[in-house]
């Protein structure tokens, strides 16, 4: 645990040197919700029907914004490996008395704390300003889902950060992945009325599994069986990505 906390301490020291960055990190999910969410909410007028229940787009989109927050935080953290590699410090880290797994866990743990703060802020603002009914009794589950989501995506994106040498190539690849994952998922819209091919692809998209679980917690839509299957799927995705990221980290040298 000491090793993981040493990485967290390092991340903390590095992050507090960029308070603007930190503020922007906290504000991005809110901006998504207030700009994109509000605009769609108004455009749709009567809202959506999800699983037979009428819901406002803001209430529907809250889970999507939270999922995107996890992905965005994971992306920023994994991009940090390019900076560390360019500084040479990444190689030095790997000679420190810790395992590769401890290094990755420490790296994401600080970001998970940031994600929890972002989530609380976003959920609170959506309740106060947008009138979204928030099931506060599930809040611990929501925060746990945010931590798991951030870690899962971080491990997944780290694989690319370790295997791709050029940051411009990494940006290109991640943009494509981001585009495909975001728009072929249940983040922005319910999947009930989309074409069958899109629904099929979205159903095997880990981003949909994560967003569906958050939506189950915030809106109560979905069946427990299907949600548990998606949760299990996401955890398997996380573990597989963790394993692959450790292997990719060794190959980056």
């Amino acid at each position: 645990m000491r090793e993981i906390m040493a990485v967290v301490y390092r991340e903390y020291l590095v992050r507090i040197t960029g308070l603007t960055w930190m503020f922007f990190d906290l504000a991005v999910p809110l901006l998504y919700l207030l700009m994109f969410g509000v605009a769609f909410d108004r455009a749709l007028g009567q809202g959506l029907s999800v699983g037979g229940q009428p819901v406002s787009y803001n209430a529907f989109f809250l889970a999507g914004v939270l999922s995107m927050t996890c992905f965005g935080n994971a992306l920023n953290t994994s991009y940090g490996f390019f900076v560390d590699r360019d500084n040479g410090i990444l190689f030095e880290f790997l000679t420190y008395p810790m395992t590769r797994g401890q290094f990755l866990l420490g790296k994401i743990l600080f970001q998970c704390a940031m994600t929890v703060l972002q989530s609380l802020l976003t959920i609170s603002v959506s309740a106060v300003l947008l009138g979204v009914s928030v099931p506060w009794h599930f809040i611990l589950f929501v925060l746990a889902a945010m931590i798991v989501g951030t870690a899962g995506w971080f491990f997944f994106l780290s694989i690319f950060a370790f295997l791709i040498r050029r940051n411009d190539t990494f940006n290109l690849v991640i943009n494509v992945i981001y585009f495909v994952l975001m728009f072929l998922s249940s983040v922005f819209y319910p999947l009930e009325r989309v074409p069958t091919w899109l629904r099929t692809v979205a159903m095997i998209n880990p981003l949909s599994w994560h967003a569906d679980f958050l939506r189950f917690l915030t809106l109560g839509v979905g069946t427990l069986e299907s949600i548990l299957l998606e949760v299990a799927g996401f955890i398997a995705f996380l573990l597989l990505s963790f394993w692959a990221a450790i292997r990719a980290l060794q190959k980056t040298l």
């Binding site: 301490y9 020291l13 590095v14 960029g18 000679t95 008395p97």
Partner: protein, 317 residues
Amino acid sequence: MDRSLAIEVNSLVKVFAKRDQRAIRAVDGLSIQVPKGSIFGLLGPNGAGKTTTIRVLTTLLTPSAGEARVMGYDVVQNPLAVRKQICVVVQENAIELHLSVQNNFRVFGRFHGLDANEIQRRTERISELFGLREYLNEKGMDLSGGLKRRVQVAKTFLIDKPVVFLDEATTGMDTFNKRATIQAIKEESRKGRTIVLTTHVLDEAEVLCDSIAIMNHGRLVAQGTVDSVKAYGLRMMSLSMLLADVSSSTLELVRSYQPSSIEVKNATLDITVKDDNTALAILAAVRQHTEVRHFEITTASLEDVFVQLLDKKASPS
């Protein structure tokens, strides 16, 4: 496993194979032993395989074949145990650019299990030793290249790991700091720490090292104490002859004595040979073959020996 050894490397091979490219044997059958508490220098030109060897020993790379042990721990079987025994100055300028020098020390100390008070106490000592006191609040990104290197080297003296790897540690340092670093390395060795350093500066190795190994093209070219390698060098001779005519038959004749090197400049033939007897034998043979207008036999310098050794792909140890 010999308990008196800090490092034991046997027939180590590291091959870098990339798709559609010829595989490169960066380390090719290297065997070295480093006794505990000694200063060991790994010498060789750029691309000799020194850094690759250090990277294998510090668990950054896994070997393709052979074995390597640090303080008795196998680098492949037990990399974490190896990392608990070492601290490393990597070849790259590794410093946290966004953090102050003080925070660089804090982070490094935390990673190696020191508490805040101990880090503070040791920071004062090493900042004095390396002349960093006035830079403690400066951010890494605001330091010159030499200062960054100094911070990086200073970090390794913050902790007490038994084996220290310094990969081209003094690169970019001015004379004053180089001297301070060399002094600090010597002091740490006296405390019983094993220091492994790579360099291509012979003088540095001569001042610091108890034993050295010279690498080229991934192979060991020579190994031993500094004195034994120097003694090997002292036996080597340079023979320079100004001839009436440098014909191909003369060159053939000289080559039959298997000199270490032959260089022809106009009518002058510069030859390096293993010992004075060979030099005299070549001179006598050439005099019977053609007119020798002038000749000179001198002892080869250590620099010459080094260059000669590196010109061979593999050889005596």
